[in-house]
Amino acid sequence: MGIGGMMMLPVLGHATSPESFLDSAMDVAVKKRLADAALNAAKSKGATYTDVRIGRYLNQYVITREDKVQNIVNTESYGVGVRVIADGCWGFAAIVDAKSEKDTAKAAEEAVAIAKANARLMKSPVILAPQKGFGEVSWKAPIKRNAFEVPIQEKVDLLLGVNDAAMKNGANYVNSLLFMVNEQKYFASTDGSYIDQDIHRMWPIFAVTCIDPKTGKFETRQSLSAPVGMGYDYLQVNPADKVTGITTRYNKGYDMLEDVVAAAQQAKEKLSAKSVEAGKYDLVLDPSHLWLTIHESVGHPLELDRVLGYEANFAGTSFATLDKLKSGNFNYGSPEVTLFADKTQEGSLGAVGWDDEGVKTKRWDLVKDGTLVNYQAIRDQVHILGENESHGCCYADSWSSVQFQRMPNVSLAPGRTPLSVQEMIKDVKKGIYIIGDGSFSIDQQRYNFQFGGQLYYEIKDGEITGMLKDVAYQSNTQEFWNSCVKVCDEKDYRLGGSFFDGKGQPEQVSAVSHGSSTTRFNGVNVINTARKI
């Protein structure tokens, strides 16, 4: 339905000691043997298509508050999921700790039995886009430092240093967390692919709280980091990755210590900031904020399964219906707006070599110069678009989950004309500059939305005049993207994202990045969120 809580931790998985993460993964030859057993078993029971995913999923969390390490958790989950088409219907079964050919064959047989039980509820058989087999291939995320090989002590020292800096700079409380992910995925299908992939993700986050003891009011400021498809190298501080301005923002390297010092000071400053006067403002949105608006108002409505109604009972449908695409002239945004999908962008959360149904990943346009030009679609959907090749954006969050269409990285292309943030702000008469993501909500067809942020600065006659609070903006997707008047150039282009995009029943999460440069939207409705209880 949308992004889950930022501090939410998955409950699936099994903890192990750090050393066990250095165990070599299961041998590819063994995986192939297990996969072949499932492929053969499914075929013998009448499946016309089968794919097998053998997964080992590792997570590590280091969780702290103030001067204490609250928990160090290592989780590991291993199992096998088998998906089949039998009698024209999908079936899926997953078995924990499946390490023998007998186990994987059993999962395949169960999947066929489910497909056959449900086939009577099908109106027409599944149509799967053809896909060539790739043989035995592999892909590995281009990380420089494997986070799972970094000693616990180094991580603890970093977070306790961050917390100490927050407290010394006026925070009353600080929580910080390192969240590391490694997906070791093996995919095999009756198309003749045997794909071994090693994916890494990383997310350092904190939240600082400041309290005014007299009034009892409190304010928070969360980190301006992004979750990334990188290793521990994301925490390597490099001046070239810093974007200076009213506050420092970060690109491919994150200075957690520097950010927390600013956060503590800013949370304190928020306590006495001016409460916003509701009305129309021109908004200047930093990439650390805009990623979430892109996610909700572009990424989701252009998922073809929503458009078709497959998510009607949970995540919702979409205003961006097929007739709008077919018209060839649906005005999604202003001519400044080009939005593209990309599963190959280095360092992004969505980057993989092949998706979870064996399709090579790629980049494609969704909105070109303001006009809707495509959706996100997978093998059993693309025929609806008159295409015969999947877009390569199928994903399952675990061996135990069935793969389905998930959002690739969806990003706003940078402006073609050179433009800095400073130059953009200089032209704004009455505006608000928003940095960082905050509260977010959008309707089930993706028209009406409301977003908050971490930091709000008032702009008057081209100058930033001070901090605001109690800010949220409301708009309608098409109206909002048509109010886009300027996009800064590629020098300002940065990625934001989330580990927890939720969709499907049973619900699955997916990690996705969204890139943009700072962007200006004119005349957006801003509300004041202050209340008394």
């Binding site: 924990v96 919702g316 949220a472 209340r531």
Partner: protein
């Protein structure tokens, strides 16, 4: 070994693991479950599946140095390996001054959450239940999308001081969205039970069909403050945000809606209308829950808000020790009391108001006031002189459950509902609320 162990099997396995421990203290959790689901959309089945899962979690402690390791293999070598791993991690971890020693053996009450009728459900039974729904909800000019999932499982706990706990449970959830083919009407229903035999997909589907047809031709009303009748499904997603905030430590620290200036809290204070009473009780017959918390504390009946007054906040064992009070674990269920009026009777007694079937995409805007935002969805209707007059376009709201529960006009008869945000089940009454704040209109159907 099977996935769902009996109490005796679980106890024997846990004793075997505890015997392997060389740490000062050891706690072992064991869980197993079988899940099956069927999902449908566009009037036909889409994806469906079966899943088995089982895992063992071992926490070892040397003084206040703690390590956790788990495994999903159960041969002797694997059991030895997981215990040694947790001990190794404990030695690597820094001391956590907040770590508490493991509990002495406890006494637990009874709670019956396991039903054979649910444990026996097969893919064919699920397909049949959905076929019946499709017969109704897939008829003339309607498109349906739904989900049915059943689960059977157990959890067990043992520690090195001899504490043992075991709880088996089952559950089934069914939800359905019916839309008119022209996209102008949408209706929704959700049902959740521990006992599969209580699930009637036909009568549930009838409600979603009626709401879908009834919501065609919605008229726009100006945003503003309205009297609303929140159906229990709609109310639950607002209430649960209040429940999440019932943490004593956050309140004491001055960073929750239960905080007051100067380090004080609202404990003992009347914060909402005196007709509001909220409690938890694991032995509730319609909403059974585990009689023990994750670390083995007994879950008993706890009054959280009584006649509008905050009676209890949740205290972790550490925070309870700091404050010199008894620990109160976060509850496994929540029951809000109400009156005896049915939803129809509440509509009849309403001069002007809006009936809300479901609320969607609820997010916190301000933690200090618990201000939430979200939208109405799948059946929003204007009521005048005790009758539903016409459907209305969906609204975005900005409202706090604390403000909302101060504006209670009437409470109806509580029923079991499933939160469409968290999937948790609650007992919630339909409620009539005055001055509920709708801040803008949405074109979504």
């Amino acid at each position: 070994m099977s996935v769902i162990l009996t109490e005796a099997e679980a106890k024997a396995l846990l004793e075997k693991v505890i015997k392997l421990s060389q740490a000062d203290e050891c706690v072992v959790n064991l869980q197993g479950e079988i899940r099956g689901n069927i999902r449908y959309a566009r009037n036909e089945v889409s994806t469906s599946g079966n899943l088995t899962n089982k895992n063992l979690v071992v926490q070892s402690a040397f003084g206040k140095k703690v390590g956790v390791a788990t495994i999903d293999e159960f041969d002797d070598t694997s059991l030895e390996k997981v215990v040694r791993r947790s001990e190794e991690l404990a030695r690597l971890a820094p001391e956590n001054p907040e770590h508490m020693s493991v509990l002495e053996p406890q006494q637990y009450g009874k709670s019956n959450g396991y039903f054979e009728s649910t444990a026996r459900v097969t893919p064919e039974v699920r397909a049949e239940a959905v076929a019946k729904s499709l017969e109704l909800a897939g008829q003339d000019n309607l498109t349906s999308a739904g989900f049915l999932e059943n689960r059977a499982g157990f959890s067990a706990l043992m520690n090195s001081k001899g504490l043992f706990a075991y709880y088996p449970s089952t559950g089934v959830n069914f939800s359905l969205t019916v839309r008119t083919d022209d996209g102008t009407g949408s209706g929704y229903v959700i049902r959740g039970y521990n006992d599969f035999s209580k699930l009637d997909t036909v009568s549930a589907s009838r409600i979603a069909v009626q709401k879908a047809r009834g919501s065609v031709g919605a008229k726009a009303l100006e945003p503003g403050k309205y009297t609303v009748i929140l159906e229990p499904t709609a109310a639950s997603v607002l209430l649960e945000n209040l429940y999440y905030d019932l943490d004593a430590r956050s309140a004491d620290e001055g960073r929750s809606s239960f905080s007051k200036p100067g380090g004080k809290t609202r404990l003992g204070e009347k914060i909402v209308d005196e007709r509001v009473t909220i409690y938890s009780d694991p032995s509730h017959p319609e909403l059974p829950a585990s009689p023990w918390s994750g670390e083995g504390l007994p879950q008993s009946r706890v009054s959280w808000i009584e006649k509008g007054v905050v009676k209890n906040l949740a205290y972790s064992r550490y925070w309870a020790q700091q404050k010199g009070v008894k620990p109160v674990p976060f509850p496994g269920n929540m029951i809000m009391e109400g009156g005896s009026a049915s939803l129809d009777e509440m509509i009849k007694s309403t001069k002007k108001g809006i009936l809300v079937t479901k609320l969607w995409y609820i997010r916190q805007v301000d933690p200090q006031t618990l201000l939430l935002t979200g939208l109405t969805r799948d059946g929003t209707f204007y009521i005048e002189d005790g009758q539903i007059k016409h459907p209305v376009k969906n609204f975005r709201f900005n409202e706090s459950p604390i403000i909302m529960l101060n504006n209670v006009e009437a409470l109806g008869k509580p029923e079991r509902v499933v939160s469409t945000e968290s999937n948790q089940s609650y007992m919630v009454p339909p409620m009539k609320i005055r001055e509920f704040t709708f801040s803008s209109l949405s074109d979504a159907v």
